[in-house]
Amino acid sequence: MLKINDINVYYGPIHAIKGVSFEVHPGEIVALIGANGAGKSTILKTISGLLRPKTGSITFMDTDITKMEAHKIVQQGLAHCPEGRRIFLRMTVMENLEMGAYTQKGVDEDIIESVFARFPRLKERRRQVAGTLSGGEQQMLAMGRALMSRPKMIMLDEPSMGLAPLLVEEIFDIIKTLNESGTTVLLVEQNAGMALEIAHRAYVLETGRITLSGTGKELATSDEIKKAYLGG
């Protein structure tokens, strides 16, 4: 479904991503784990068109999207829920969702209802300005907003960041049910334990390179991973 082939990404003189290749198959949850600064977010930004790889190619559903503009990539059915949520804090919850549906012709009631069904708290707060939401609600809004474009695949960058453990559980449950209803998920996480629990497959990223890959279970039980990311 998504195929990353040997991409190299630079921030000015800094070589951030060094020849990374990986694949996401339809229906999967694939996790990209690694320490802070390993390049996880950079990879997602490159896929969604916010950054350009110097070399290499990115294919989504048999379309080459390497040089496609970011706003056109969304139209292909690939949504990106960015790190730090990046919701529009000065707009209302409803307006944020409308922005998520920007690529659609008009805002479909069904899709709004389905997002509200997944995140009932957003429905209660739909007229509220997004800046007044709690951290967990903002994360839900960010995910709900990404779902408004009816994506075939969604990329989630650190959905658990800054959330209380109970909320982290809730968010991961939502990701799981989202995947079970047919959406392919590419998940970037520092919380490796949670990510490996729900991921079908995972890749480990270290300073811009993929150093390990395997199924979620394999990696969760690997000694290397345990030592480096799971605290023992």
């Binding site: 706003h71 949504a79 990106h80 919701i87 804090l89 707009m91 920007y102 800046g131």
Partner: protein
């Protein structure tokens, strides 16, 4: 009674400043650029109108073409001068804007000479005065105020209710997040320039009706004062620009009313200095704080 007629005077002048200030604020809000060429767009609108009017054409045609001319010119400037600098440091963009402003002024001088032309304002708005009690209200003042109110209502509806308006707000809040929503940021920026210069075109006609002289440098002082109005209201904020424009208009009229008319410009720029020292965010500007 004198107070009331000064109030209307201030409202008229303030309306014009507000219309121009909106263009500054909207463009700043979306690409963080102080578009110092904005005042010269007004000059261009004035010349287009004067040329059509002195050729004996219909004033409605003159108004429409002046507004269209302002829009086309500002969109052209955006594409040619600002768009290539989208990822450049902001200071490069600012210097480019000043360069564009000087270019437009000198271009006008070349085309129309440095001598001011008189604007046939009574053709556009007849010189009628209404007497209410002991105060005089000119039709020009009345038209200016009404047109400004209508323009602001339309702008507010555009920004709050339409898909394009919401896209403008999204881009101004977070450009990258807006791209991820599928918003075409470049066309949204172009649309913002077009909207701001539509208001500038309207402001241009209203300004020429009050001060019926068109010259190559007419836009620079008006532009600077409108910029002060935008800063006073909180740059980037649309209601702020409206309030700031009115405040500057009232301040000028007040200073003249107490017999210090040669001090009006000084007072306006003193306001700028005070705002920057005391409350740089202006009335309604915000310093963004994000929740992590």
């Amino acid at each position: 009674m004198l107070l009331l007629s000064q109030l209307i005077n201030g409202l008229q002048l303030g309306s014009i400043y507000a219309l121009v200030a909106l263009g500054y604020s909207m463009v700043y809000g979306i690409i963080m650029l102080l578009n110092f060429a904005h005042g010269d767009i007004i000059m261009a609108g004035g010349y287009i109108a004067v040329l059509i009017l002195t050729a004996g054409r219909n004033p409605v045609l003159a108004i429409i073409l002046a507004i269209i001319g302002c829009v086309l010119l500002s969109v052209l400037i955006e594409k040619v001068a600002y768009k290539p600098l989208r990822s450049a440091p902001r200071i490069s963009l600012l210097i480019t804007a000043i360069g564009v402003s000087l270019f437009l002024q000198n271009m006008a001088q070349l085309l129309f000479t440095a001598n001011a032309r008189s604007f046939p304002n009574t053709v556009v708005i007849p010189a009628i005065n209404f007497r209410i009690g002991s105060i005089n209200i000119s039709l020009t003042a009345l038209v200016t105020i009404v047109v400004t109110i209508i323009s602001m209502i339309c702008l507010t509806l555009l920004v709050q209710k339409t898909k394009m308006g919401k896209a403008m707000r999204a881009v101004s809040e977070d450009t990258d997040a807006a791209k991820l929503m599928g918003i075409n940021v470049n066309s949204t920026i172009t649309f913002t320039f077009a909207t701001g210069s539509t208001l500038a075109g309207i402001g241009s006609i209203l300004y020429c009706c009050r001060y019926p002289l068109v010259s190559p440098t007419m836009g620079s002082l008006l532009g600077l004062k409108a910029f002060v109005a935008a800063v006073l209201g909180g740059i980037g904020s649309i209601p702020g620009a409206m309030i700031g424009g009115l405040a500057i208009g009232f301040a000028e009229v007040l200073v003249s009313a107490v017999g210090l008319s040669e001090w009006t410009d000084a007072v306006v720029f003193a306001i700028l200095i005070i705002v920057l020292l005391v409350k740089p965010t202006g009335f309604l500007g915000r310093s963004m704080q994000e929740k992590v």
